[in-house]
């Protein structure tokens, strides 16, 4: 442990500690620091050119034993035993399989029990743990910060860099504390916290920062809830998001396939307990949120910062004092085909998408199922439920959740990114409107001309029942206590 922590400055934040503990060299004279990477996650979209680059320069993968790959973005979520129909998608997946074979990298392919969205796979295997550095050619790598890891997305050249050197040259990030104190009311979830944070600070509000989420409301969340929050850090512009590890973290990790065992476990926990921001450490920026007053949150526009509490209405563009925001609101409402002043709860949807690396873990599925149990979906609404990984799918089925979902009239699919982005067959038709538990409501994100409202799993479930944006309380449905326990507190 001494060797691990000796580079730490006095009075440091969680992020600064993890950074210091991974310094290979400290940059001088304007040169960046060289940071060691503990875990490199790879998927089919951003890796082919990186492997090609290694081949061109005759370099091997330095640490195949710190690298793991899965197939998620391009993969279909039905008929997964058939060849992928779309030629470009098939080619990207085929390239990953060839590259993994050639460079000796562990790959979980479609059909494998550990296949799934890359950010669901790392944690479920126990590979994601406190105090490590995690990178992946994907911006939502911030998800893994929920364990107190320093986790961030990188570009294709950097993927090649990590494959070749297991390091990255980087300038330190600034630090921001987002403190959420209080207790959440029933029906308010981790997703609502992060949507409220982004609405408060804006989509670029945390640019250049690593966020540390703190406070009693964060502490009370399960790991799945913490992952939902860290996942969307990038939507506030942050490089990464983190939560200091605690007993919840340790309990989640204990006995996972790759979690430390025996003496290693004890040494790890001892080290992990040092991973908290010192009382006298100073953040470069601080943001506060009151959990007691939070309500279910939903987006009305085309970026994740354009959100309001579900009880409110589509805003008037003229209510934005800043001209850039006003223009953005006008454009967004035009694209979303929404009238200012319309109550959010009057907005009907065509599709409900329950999935993505933001909300596709077991807790999310449990919360969703707890609301729809014994109900029927609204007529004419398509409801897709897509588990984050094949393992999550198995676990959900072991609890019988798939029966609840199918009896409700929803589609129970195989694991993948699915309708989170228009790269695989699961897409919205032009003009269709979705309530989606994913993380990006950009124009065209879920298909050309598609309209997206970002919501929590509980709101997704109530919306699927009523057909318009709704929360469980609108339906007079009690939120079963286990879902509150699992999702909220």
């Amino acid at each position: 442990m001494a060797a691990d922590t000796q580079s730490r400055p006095a009075a440091s934040t969680l992020a600064e500690k993890v950074w210091a503990d991974h310094l290979v060299t400290k940059g001088e004279n304007g040169e960046p620091d060289l940071l060691y990477v503990d875990l490199h996650l790879v998927h089919e979209v951003t890796s082919p050119q990186a492997f090609d680059g290694l081949r061109q320069s005759g370099r091997p993968v330095r640490r195949p034993d710190l690298t793991i790959a899965t197939e998620d973005h391009n993969t279909p979520t039905i008929d997964i035993d058939k060849p992928i129909a779309e030629p470009n998608s098939r080619q990207q997946v085929a390239a990953l399989r060839t590259n993994a074979e050639e460079f000796g990298i562990r790959l979980h392919s479609l059909g494998d029990a550990e296949q799934g969205i890359v950010h669901v796979v790392g944690p479920q295997l126990g590979l994601t743990m406190p105090g490590i550095t995690v990178v992946c050619g994907d911006s939502h790598t911030s998800t893994h910060g929920a364990f107190g890891a320093m986790a961030f997305g990188i570009g294709t050249s950097e993927v090649e860099h990590v494959l070749a050197t297991q390091t990255l040259p980087l300038a330190p990030f600034k630090t921001m504390a987002v403190t959420v104190e209080g207790s959440l009311r029933p029906g308010v979830t981790a997703k609502d916290i992060i949507l409220a944070v982004i609405a408060q600070i804006g989509t670029q509000g945390a640019q250049g920062y690593v966020i540390e989420y703190r406070g009693s409301a964060i502490r009370s969340l399960s790991m799945d809830g913490r992952m939902t929050i860290c996942n969307m850090s990038i939507e506030a512009g942050a490089r990464a998001g983190m939560v200091a590890p605690d007993e919840t973290t340790f309990a989640y990790l204990k006995n996972r396939p790759h979690a430390p065992q025996g003496d290693d476990w004890d040494a790890a926990v001892e080290y992990w307990k040092t991973l908290r921001t010192d009382d006298d450490a100073v953040f470069d920026a601080e943001v506060f949120l009151d959990a007691n007053t939070l309500e279910p949150f939903v987006t009305w526009g085309t970026n994740p910062g354009q959100g309001v509490p579900l009880n409110e209405s589509v805003p008037e563009p003229s209510s934005f004092t800043n001209e850039v925001d006003r223009h953005a609101a006008e454009r967004a409402l035009d694209y979303m085909e929404l009238e200012p002043g319309t109550p959010m709860k009057d907005i009907p949807v065509d599709v409900v998408f329950m999935g993505s690396c933001t909300n596709s873990r077991l807790d999310d599925l449990r919360a969703f199922a707890s609301i729809i149990k014994g109900q029927k979906k609204a007529d004419g609404v398509r409801v897709m439920v897509v588990p984050g990984s094949a393992r999550v799918r198995l676990e959900a089925e072991a609890e019988g959740l798939h029966k609840v979902i199918e009896e409700f009239g929803a589609e129970w699919r195989f694991a993948g990114c699915s309708m989170c982005l228009g790269m695989n067959p699961d897409q919205l038709q032009p003009g269709e409107r979705a309530a989606s538990t994913s993380n990006r409501n950009f124009e065209g994100r879920q298909g050309r001309g598609a309209r997206t409202h970002l919501v929590s799993p509980l709101v997704a479930a109530a919306t699927a029942i009523r057909g318009t944006l709704s929360s469980p309380s609108d339906l007079g449905i009690d939120i079963p206590s286990y879902s509150i326990a699992e999702v909220v507190a």
Binding site: S57, L66, E114, M129, I132, H161, H258, P260, A267
Partner: protein, 200 residues
Amino acid sequence: MDTVSLVEGVGAPLRRSTVDTDQIIPAKFLKRITKTGYDDALFYEWRQNPEFILNTPPYDKARVLVAGPDFGTGSSREHAVWALRDFGFAAVISSRFGDIFRGNAGKQGLVVATVPQDIVEAIWAELEAHPGLEVAVDVASREVRCGAITAPFEIDDYTRWRLMEGLDDIGLSLRHEDAIEHFETTRASWRPRTLPALGG
């Protein structure tokens, strides 16, 4: 990466400004899986016109592109640099470049030389008067030369040093290989390993 201290070759005058990366390579080529083979994708839309300058000799063998201001703005796609390189360009001269493009170029050994717009105009005139004339981009002396023109260009010290030493980012990090190895010997045994695969 090869060391680059002097680029010499046929100069192609591209009298266009704000050539963004979508024009350098359209999005439809981003689904490819290789890092090479983008020569046909470079300026794809423009090259559908047989008269486009890079379709006509001697410019089809050009090595130095001389473009209008704000070259390489827009999306961060690294493919823009790959396409220029695959076509055969080793240097681009302009009065202003997109920031991300300039960074990406440095990573791939493509020399990006910033000169005042009046120098660009002078080189254009010289090249148009003498098609096939060579342009020299001398990284060592920080000079561009073309016919009677000799002018200094701007390049930051760190990028210049990396070009002349032939260091890509990976090469640079591997200079610290001893430090990386040392770090690895101190890495705690509880830290994750993906191999051998456990579970599943």
